[in-house]
Amino acid sequence: MLKQLECSRAIAEVIARCRPEVICAYPITPQTHIVEALSELCRTGELAPCEYINVESETSALSVAVGASAAGARAYTATASQGLLHMAEVVYNAAGLGLPIVMTLGNRALGAPINIWNDHSDAMALKDAGWIQLFARDSQEAVDLHILAFRLAEELSIPVMVCVDGFVLTHSVEPLDVPSQEQVDRFLPPYHPVQVLDVSDPVSIGAMVGPEAYTEVRYLAHHKQQRALERLPELAAELAVILGRTSGALLHPYRLDDAETIVVAMGSVTGTIEVAIDELRATGLAIGAIALCAFRPFPLVELAQALAPAKRVIVIERSLAPGLGGALASNVRMALQGGAIPVRTVIAGLGGRPITRVSLRRLFTSAAQDALDDLTFLDLDTGAIDRELARWGDQRRSGPSAENLLRDTRRPR
């Protein structure tokens, strides 16, 4: 049943129907509305039994989840941006211990400069921590992915991060269907941990592992991710039957038939890209798009197959790997290795910069003419850059670039 809801509220409601037993909350924009709503659901008793714990840092938030999960409770938390980095050590730890925690990441840029708006810098910073990372292309998928996340996590004993674009999705209000309790229960069985702290079977969890077995432990972590590549489509199909809609996949193809140019992206920008493609298709341009839902595990084979007919690939990258380009593009190139399809990286929408249909149309048209450099920054204010670089040339110490640029961009031109 569709209801006009803020995405965060809808996520909170679906989380509640996943019957988490321990929720840890620490405020950081833009995920706060989710945990606020969950606190309400706990207080009113709509979500019970559940321990809702206000912690003093993100490190503690995920640590509490680690303890709860190891003790056999279904655990949930949410974070964003700096918060993810603050808990980084625990992020790796939860994966290493194989604890099926589900965490929503309200994707947001990283400082400095401090910036509260959306991009994928946070998720990319911890892409190799061993978590499954699923990116929601819209609010409805953001809601549905959480059910899938718990099922996948607990089946494989691995933590899952559901990446939801900050503000763009988390704060958008639109008609959304929150799966009913009955629907969720049909899909998500109770949590049966593969290892648990149990006084009647007292194991030690978290041993130190030396050179003789560490590689094998890491191999097994990789193996779990490979298993997820198989299970994710199967589970998504199962969920689709229950919900009557498709949510979650390794990737979502869009108008790929005979596409010469294929755009690869993740998250909410997909919607804008699809509109731009519709417009360009109307002009006769053979262009399509792929929205990656699974970034970890990365569907190398499936992506390679989908991209095989293309003459060129453009990756819309919501984060920057300074000194290289983009993490997503690197991964796409790995999928295409050995082939001759060129992959162009477009850094776009950093720190909440709008990615407009107009800019995308211009970009895609240019790309279709093979006029794109290997690495492009969409809508870069080259004037501001040039002035700052000139300043750098004038004096070795020219003050913080971010402030200089900000001053320049506000200067009447």
Partner: protein
């Protein structure tokens, strides 16, 4: 006092057991039925105070809870020497996550037990580094929320696992790998000090106590008391380290005893933020008696005259004795 004289025999309350005592008056450690929560085969150094302290604490807690106990461990010596894969020395459910998050992980375990309605209790434990330094944020949060966790700090006054570096629990003048006995002020600096028990009391915890491995009955009584209370509790146990302190392996308990008997390590308990009792010093000794037995303080005594900073350490001990009323017969 007269009661105690009659009740206890040649050895009073101080030996582990005694065939003449009623079994209920003997330490948990006197019983062959003790849990041995930390069992043989672990890789701790010879004479390790922390191995001893951990078994003392956990066995007492196991008895107090009828073995309904889970332990969460911070990274450190205790974690490393007990669980090098593929062998563990623990015999109770035990979880290690990270260096600085044991208190929060324990909160999670306790929350899981509560939500599942299991009457299982939780102990979090770590060394002084994992407690007073890197883990303090999580610990303070756990305290403030009054989560149902007993946190036990095994204080050996330094980062021993990484090779004896200074922690905020390292005493002034002590030599460590990062406060070498070099330069004009050899060894650790005189800072303001950082008393975790007092910080715990500042959280108004229902129970805070200190103890040493030298007084087992006192230690076990405190663990038992702590396990009888719900909410956040803190126990700070002094565990000498032969390696880091530089004393013979058979002097571990003696060093703990001297630390308490000279006043540098006050043994007390506090309820709801106020000191309610302290363990009186039985045979007071000057700090020098304690310092001299340890190589980490050797530089205080290698000159033609003793280092004047010994007097400052003595002043710290004297302050403890006044503040915690460690010598009730001496009016402050």
């Amino acid at each position: 006092m007269s009661d105690q004289r009659i009740r206890f025999y040649q050895t009073g309350t101080f030996t582990v057991g005694n065939r003449l005592l009623d079994p209920s008056d003997r330490a948990v450690q006197a019983s062959t039925a003790r849990a041995n929560a930390l069992t043989s085969g672990h890789r701790a150094c010879q004479g390790c105070g922390e191995a001893l302290g951990a078994r003392y604490v956990l066995d007492a807690a196991m008895r107090a809870t009828g073995n309904q106990l889970i332990a969460v461990n911070a990274t450190g010596c205790l974690e490393v020497f007990t669980t090098p894969s593929p062998e563990t020395a623990w015999q109770l459910p035990w979880l290690h996550s990270l260096f600085g998050n044991a208190a929060a992980v324990a909160t999670g375990v306790a929350a899981a037990m509560r939500v599942k309605g299991k009457p299982v209790r939780v102990i979090a434990q770590g060394g002084d580094g994992g407690t007073t330094d890197i883990g303090f944020g999580c610990l303070s949060g756990m305290f403030e929320r009054n989560d149902d966790v007993l946190y036990v700090c095994y204080d050996n006054e330094g980062y021993m696992n990484t090779g004896v570096q200074r922690s905020s629990a390292t005493p002034p003048t002590a030599r460590t790998a990062t406060t070498p006995a070099m330069g004009p002020e050899r060894g650790n600096v005189f800072g303001t000090g950082k008393s975790l028990p007092l910080l715990a009391m500042a959280h108004n915890l229902p129970y805070v106590a200190t103890a040493t491995v030298a007084d087992l009955h006192d230690l076990e009584a405190k663990v038992t008391c702590a396990m009888g209370i719900h909410g956040a509790r803190y126990l700070h146990v002094l565990v000498p380290c032969p390696l880091g302190w530089g004393h013979p392996t058979d002097e571990t308990i003696r060093m703990a005893r001297l630390a308490a008997e000279c006043g540098l390590f006050p043994v007390f308990e506090a309820v709801d933020g106020e000191v309610v009792s302290s363990t009186p010093i039985r045979r007071r000794v000057p700090v020098e008696a304690y310092l001299r037995g340890q190589k980490r303080f050797a530089h205080l005594f290698d000159g033609p005259t003793p280092d004047p900073r010994i007097a400052r350490l003595q002043a710290l001990a004297d302050q403890n004795i006044r503040r915690f009323r460690l010598q009730p017969e001496v009016t402050p």
